[in-house]
């Protein structure tokens, strides 16, 4: 049951930064979103809501893949509304295609530390260390196709750790994994957060296994943040609607 990785091998980061979306609007053809949200530093936010409600758009705006039509986005003290994705203290882990298919696990992870793809001796040590910390020792030279779905997401996590961004966004990162593997990954995520203290926004369709991790829940409905509160403080009606009312932490099996 106990995975091989040791939390002490995660390098401590500077901790998390607060994320603020003030009057942020974005729209396309017949569809619009409008967000107001203030996430405190180091929070773990579980973002839930029906499909098409705008959960991914929220993350895309924070990550800088989309630029809002109005409003400002702040991370820490900095206004990042216009900053390109790589100039933001943010790392996003996508649902799929997190890795370059033709590069091995080592290079894929290493790009988080050194975007030129050329690694110094000390960089190599750190990359090996981090891959070992997410449980991928001995698999450094595998191509993504030679890794399982869970291992691929571990490489993406290792890269995120090497970037050591104060904000981490995860867009249904474990959607493609089976339930046992998902619980394992949730545990890994919890250890990462304990070690590095980054601010996390996690989108999930199946909140049960991530709920124990969450310091806050953000409920997105029809392009708005309908509620944002610690799990226990959510308005009961909304919590019930999204299956969060006193559901056992390991419930909702078979999804």
């Amino acid at each position: 049951m106990t995975p091989p990785e040791n939390p002490r091998t995660f390098r401590p980061a500077s901790g998390g930064l607060p994320v603020t979306l003030a009057d942020v609007r974005f729209s396309r053809a017949d569809w619009a979103v409008h967000y107001d949200l203030a996430v405190p530093a180091g929070a773990v936010v579980l973002v839930i809501g029906p499909s098409g409600a705008g959960k991914t758009t929220l993350l895309d705006l924070v990550a800088g893949f989309l630029v809002p039509k109005t409003g400002r986005i702040r991370i820490g003290k900095e206004d990042v509304t216009c900053a390109p994705p790589h100039r933001r203290p943010v790392t996003m882990i996508f649902q799929e295609h997190n890795l370059f298919a033709h590069l091995d696990a080592f290079t894929n992870a290493g790009l988080g530390l050194e975007p030129s793809g050329r690694f110094s001796r000390s960089a190599r040590t750190r990359i090996f260390e981090t891959l070992a910390a997410v449980g991928l020792q001995g698999r450094e030279d595998r191509l993504p196709a030679q890794l399982s779905g869970g291992q691929r997401q571990r490489v993406a996590l290792a890269r995120a750790l090497l970037r050591a961004s104060p904000v981490m966004l995860l867009d249904e990162p474990f959607a493609a994994l089976d339930p046992a593997l998902r619980r394992e990954m949730a545990a890994l995520l919890a250890r990462l957060h304990a070690a590095q203290g980054m601010t996390m926004l996690v989108v999930s369709h199946d909140p049960a296994e991530l709920l124990p991790l969450a310091s806050h829940v953000a409920i997105v409905e029809a392009g708005r943040v309908a509620a944002f509160a610690p799990p226990g403080d959510l308005p009961r009606r909304i919590a019930r609607r999204h299956g969060l009312d006193g559901a056992p932490a390991n419930g909702q099996a078979g999804v």
């Binding site: 809002p68 790589h86 943010v90 370059f100 590069l103 793809g117």
Partner: protein
């Protein structure tokens, strides 16, 4: 209502920007027009613009202009023949191709199926001169068929020159193309159709009427238009096998009006007619019919319920045998005629070596230019922040990449020929080299684009956002992501471009000289001075060169393909 009108006007003014990056530019200054794509478009347009300037300027200064401004009887005869031979070629190619394509589909499990399918791919990469010499070896005055006829006591024999030869050559090229398109389309039908037919016991004719024909019908207009367009713009085949007053197409007439008479006004009229003709066909093809995907692969097929019926086997066997003979005989012919030539002497001639080196250098330069232009044009699909741009810019880039389908290499060469005719540059080796390379690059650009664009779009969709987030610099992006990702598509693109440039006669026929001569031009000159054996030997060398390059690039592609 007024509000809507304003929005619409604003939308029209910024025609080339998607909704998304319009919001970017308003708020954040970094978002830009795709300058690199624009550079690519300008680069590609340089050649046609120069050619247009040449034709227009010199036609204006042409003393004969007054007499030849109106298309005369000669021009109309040329137009009539162009349309006639294209229509007949299309009819023959589509009929035979459809018959064979269906046969290959129905007999998908016969012995030697793979071999036949691969044999029918050969004409795609075969330089036209090589094919023509192969046809001459079989059907020509001293060819196999006439020798056979003479042995049988028929002294008159048959002649390949004129319309029959042109049709035969066009069917040699286009019937396998149609067969491939039909075969691929039919093989793509759900396997369940065949299983259902077997289960329900649908008879042969009913299956054709109910299933095969409705599936097939969709691609026939596109295939026919494509073949018509290719035949209407055919140059090399008509130059060698036709060319007389009764058998000249627009393309060849342009060449002749400059090489023999130097009449730019006439060349301009012919070029305009040719562009109107191919332009109309091109638009028809894009609007009315689906563009046939000539690069699509074959999917595996379930056994056909009627494959074993006697009638079906007879019909299919006849079709396949006919086309195999049609394609294989000229290939065997060029081998035999080429080997019969004095290859040792040919390889000692300086002219041959010079032509070889010139051809290779020109093909390499053309391929490099085509890849460069294509890379620039591909950036039109890159939206800021790792996104994929859709809309007007990528469409414009694609249109520019396909330009040569309407403005043929002969027209481009004709324009530059008259532009340079009165200057010192006309005798300049370097000028001719780069012009011919450029025109050949433009000629392979549609194929290079069609091969690379889907791979590039796919790569961008997969990895664009990741690259943007990691902040990979442009060189790193090329080294780590783009080149490895494009490698599998790069092989076929390279092979196609090299094969086309090595085999082309259209551009070099006008722009070549004693100082600048490629292998195809040398072959044509030897043919012109009735040294057919030399021409056959040189064709064999050209064929071997093209084959070697194709195999090499195929290996390169396989090495680069590491995707599971």
């Amino acid at each position: 209502m007024t509000c809507h009108a304003i929005v619409r006007v604003a939308g029209r003014r910024r025609l080339f920007r998607s909704r998304e990056d319009r919001s970017l530019t308003k708020r954040c200054p970094e978002a830009q027009r795709p300058w690199t794509a624009l550079a690519g478009i300008v680069l590609v347009l340089l050649l046609p613009l120069g050619a247009a300037a040449g034709l227009l300027l010199m036609a204006g200064a042409d003393d004969m202009a007054a007499d030849t401004v109106l298309p005369d009887a000669y021009v109309w005869r040329v137009v009539r023949f162009t349309l006639l031979q294209a229509a007949l070629s299309t009819l023959l190619s589509v009929t035979l191709g459809m018959w064979v394509g269906h046969a290959l589909f129905r007999q998908g499990h016969m012995a030697g199926h793979g071999l036949v399918t691969r044999l029918l791919l050969l004409p795609f990469a075969l330089p036209q001169l090589v094919a023509v010499l192969g046809l001459l070896a079989v059907w020509g005055r001293h060819g196999w068929v006439n020798q056979l006829l003479q042995a049988l006591g028929m002294q008159d024999g048959i002649s390949l020159y004129g319309l029959p030869g042109i049709l035969l050559a066009h069917v040699f090229y286009n019937a396998p193309l149609v067969a491939r398109l039909v075969h691929v389309r039919l093989a793509a039908m759900p396997t369940e159709y065949l299983r259902l037919a077997a289960q329900l016991g649908i008879p042969r004719r009913a299956f054709w009427r109910l299933v095969t024909w409705p599936v097939l019908r969709g691609i026939l207009p596109g295939a026919a238009l494509l073949v018509f367009m290719l035949c209407a713009g055919s140059f090399t085949v008509v130059l060698v096998l036709g060319g007389g007053p009764g058998a000249t197409t627009l393309e060849v007439a342009i060449y002749q009006s400059l090489r023999f008479d130097f009449a730019p006004a006439r060349a301009l009229i012919l070029a305009l007619l040719q562009m109107v003709l191919t332009g109309t066909l091109f638009l028809l093809l894009r609007r009315l019919a689906a563009w046939p995907d000539t690069m699509a692969g074959l999917s595996p097929v379930a056994p056909h319920p009627h494959a074993q019926e006697h009638g079906a086997r007879l019909i299919d066997g006849a079709a396949i045998l006919l086309l195999v003979a049609l394609v294989a005989l000229p290939l065997a012919g060029i081998m035999q005629a080429g080997l019969a030539a004095d290859l040792a002497r040919l390889l000692q001639e300086t002219a041959v070596w010079q032509a070889l080196v010139t051809s290779l250098a020109m093909a390499a330069a053309a391929t490099m230019l085509a890849l460069m232009a294509c890379a620039l044009l591909l950036t039109s699909m890159a939206a800021p922040r790792g996104g994929v741009r859709t809309g007007a810019w990528p469409s414009l880039a694609e249109a520019v990449a396909s330009l040569v389908l309407v403005i043929s290499p002969v027209i481009l060469a004709a324009g530059w020929f008259v532009l340079l005719a009165r200057t010192d540059l006309a005798q300049e080796r370097t000028a001719a080299f780069w012009l011919v390379s450029g025109i050949n690059a433009l000629m392979s650009l549609p194929f290079v684009w069609r091969t690379l664009a889907p791979a590039w779009r796919d790569l961008r969709q997969r990895h664009g956002r990741l690259c943007a987030q990691l902040g990979l610099s442009l060189p790193t992006r090329w080294r780590l992501v783009i080149l490895p990702g494009l490698a599998p598509a790069l092989g076929p693109a390279l092979a196609m471009s090299l094969a086309l440039s090595l085999g082309d006669l259209g551009a070099v026929a006008l722009l070549g000289s004693e100082e600048f001569r490629t292998l195809p031009l040398l072959i044509y000159q030897r043919l012109g001075s009735y040294r057919t054996a030399d021409a056959a030997g040189l064709s064999l060398i050209l064929l071997l060169m093209v084959t070697a390059l194709m195999l090499a690039t195929e290996r390169l592609a396989r090495k680069g393909d590491i995707r599971p």
